[in-house]
Symmetry: C2
Subunit: 91 residues, 2 copies
DNA sequence: TTAACATTTAACTTAATTGTTAAATGTATT
DNA sequence: AATACATTTAACAATTAAGTTAAATGTTAA
């Protein structure tokens, strides 16, 4: 189930863009939304998909909710694709 | 565009299953379809999504159309995810 | 407690995806 | 040419996904 959620979450260009945006460090929902041309509500739903996939984590600081990337679940996706490629990491 | 198509194609469990099924070698559409519980027509459309993403290639041999996996486009997906992970392949 | 702000959730619309059945296409065989 | 077989395509129904606006929630500060 984790792999399915991960790949589904990564299959949307806005969500991939959000993840890249968070790579340098955490940002609030508003800061993230400001970078995109869709509504805050739309970004909020994308954030919830990413969070459900455990690709991001949130923590509230006062009025703001900061999101940070969590790369740990990418490992499974990487392994799946690598295995499909049929490559040996020691080759 | 290629990355988007790749990830979208990989975001479906049946399509991932098809790719794994093709890993050992090419199979005809019918042989692939026989392994799944959906109709031939449904598998045929999954095959066309995979083909459009260039994850598989087809070649007809008489009545049969054989599909084989093409892993080359996985490289871009792998690079994207690896870069997001922030890892250096020499680290 | 009221007001203001940040964010999410609800309700709704539209578009895309997946599955089904039935018709169409391509190839081989008689 | 006619039939049979493998596969795809078309047409349709059901589900899921993504966007919008408006209402709701949580937090801070007056």
């Amino acid at each position: 189930m984790a792999l399915q959620k991960t790949l589904k979450a990564l299959a949307d260009p806005i969500r991939r863009d959000i993840l890249n945006t968070l790579k340098p460090g955490a940002l609030s929902a508003g800061e993230i939304a400001a970078k995109f041309s869709v509504t805050d509500a739309s970004i909020s739903r994308h954030l919830s998909v990413l969070k459900d996939a455990d690709l991001i984590r949130d923590n509230r600081k006062g009025k703001f909710i900061y999101y940070e990337i969590n790369v740990s679940v990418l490992e499974e996706a990487l392994l799946w694709i690598t295995d499909l490629k049929g490559e040996n990491e020691n080759a």
